[in-house]
């Protein structure tokens, strides 16, 4: 195995409401998720990976367009489609998610507070419909998360200024 110091891994940044798909060794990063949720679709054999920074649960429930990573349904389907064109076999794809916090503790009970939870549950429904296994998640809480997906290892690193770094 190559020593890490011998080469620099490419880092791909995913902005809010965007997604990226890579099929070469890379670190995919997205920053400061609050109520937003990041989802990584990962092919365990080819190590191709898609990562999206999702804002809203369902494109069909609102009358506004936006970037393809904005809605859970559109983002997941678009990533899957792109991965399949890369020769990824559908049965090999698994998913990991992180985010969906409630940043303002005073907002209990309102819809506004539940947006993080609603995003998480929408993603789970889409994954179930597409028969993709969700193998790890770090969701909820009341703190922001910055995540890195390492395609070589399939590990999702979750960093926060308010909580210790996790690996899922």
């Amino acid at each position: 195995m190559k020593k890490e110091s011998n080469y620099i891994m490419e880092t791909v940044f995913v902005n809010i409401a965007e997604f990226a798909v890579v099929n070469n060794p890379a670190v995919i990063e997205t920053r400061s998720l609050g109520s937003c949720v990041a989802i990584a679709l990962y092919d365990i054999s080819t190590r191709a990976c898609g990562l999206a920074h999702i804002m809203l649960p369902d494109s069909k429930k609102v009358n506004v367009g936006g970037k393809p990573g904005k809605y859970a349904d559109v983002a997941i389907e678009s990533m899957l489609k792109k991965m399949l064109t890369m020769g990824v076999s559908r049965g090999n794809i698994v998913a990991k998610i992180a985010g969906g916090a409630c940043m303002f503790s005073g907002l209990s009970g309102s819809d506004f507070m539940n947006i993080g939870l609603r995003n998480v549950s929408a993603i789970k429904t889409v994954l179930k419909d597409l028969r993709i296994n969700l193998i790890a998640e770090d969701t909820g809480g009341s703190y922001g998360r910055t995540i890195e997906f390492h395609t070589e290892t399939g590990k999702l690193i979750v960093k926060s200024t308010m909580a210790p770094t996790k690996e899922i």
Binding site: N15, I16, A17, E18, R31, S32, L33, G34, S35, C36, M55, L56, V62, V64, G65, G66, K67, K70, A101, C102, M103, F104, S105, G106, L107, F112, I115, G116, S142, Y143, G144, R145, T146, T161, M162
Partner: protein
């Protein structure tokens, strides 16, 4: 943050009279807010001329200073005759310094704010938001109410994303009115941000008799 007026498109584009009117109205609100803050702290508070920006939702964190910056944020919804959202943002250093001034407890400046600091900040936020809305309401002869304050201390992107999600349900761009407040003597800075709903603007123009 700048006091330049950057406009791209939308309701207020290419219309200097509407721009000026909106800035003037906002300025009066911000002036009231600054006066209130000045009275609480017994210090001179300076404010910039408000800036109006129409920003794609996904670019808002960057335009506010980067999604990674550690901030103290307070969030209010506006209800009554107009609706919208108010966000008060302090960088970590300013926020902690302000909390120390409010509680007369200089130990607060490191680590994360404690419960007492939080409630002092929320009370201050409450007064600032109320003063702002009272200024606007008095000028326009309407009724405006802020919600209770909601507090968060974290990365800017994470703090503002729930607010952006709310706006994203109805629009692709957010209108952002930004006023910077500073207390030079204490080297302290914060931003008073207003995200008016589209109806907000229409109604203000109606009230000012600027319908066209």
């Amino acid at each position: 943050m700048t006091n330049k007026i950057l406009l791209h498109q939308g309701i207020i584009v290419n219309d200097e009279i509407k721009n000026d009117a909106l800035l003037e109205v906002t300025n009066i609100g911000a002036g009231q807010a600054a006066t209130a803050l000045s009275q609480i702290l017994m210090q001179k508070v300076f404010i910039t001329v408000p800036s109006l920006r129409f920003v794609p939702i996904e670019d808002v964190p960057e335009s506010l200073g980067g999604s990674e910056s550690h901030i103290i944020g307070m969030y209010f919804t506006i209800s009554g005759d107009l609706s919208g959202r108010i966000m008060l943002v302090f960088d970590k250093k300013s926020g902690h310094h302000l909390a120390a001034l409010l509680t007369s407890d200089p130990k607060n400046e490191k680590g994360k704010l404690g419960e007492i600091d939080k409630s002092a900040m929320m009370e201050m936020g409450n007064i600032i938001a109320n003063s702002y809305l009272n200024g606007l309401a008095g000028l326009l002869d309407i009724k405006l109410y802020p919600s209770v304050p909601f507090f968060a201390e974290d990365a800017l992107g994470a703090v503002v994303d729930s607010l952006l999600i709310e706006i994203a349900m109805v629009a692709e761009k957010a209108l952002l009115i930004d006023t910077e407040m500073s207390i030079e003597q204490e080297n302290l800075k914060g931003s008073f941000l207003v995200f008016p709903d589209t109806e907000f603007m229409k109604k203000i123009f109606e009230l000012l008799d600027l319908r066209r």
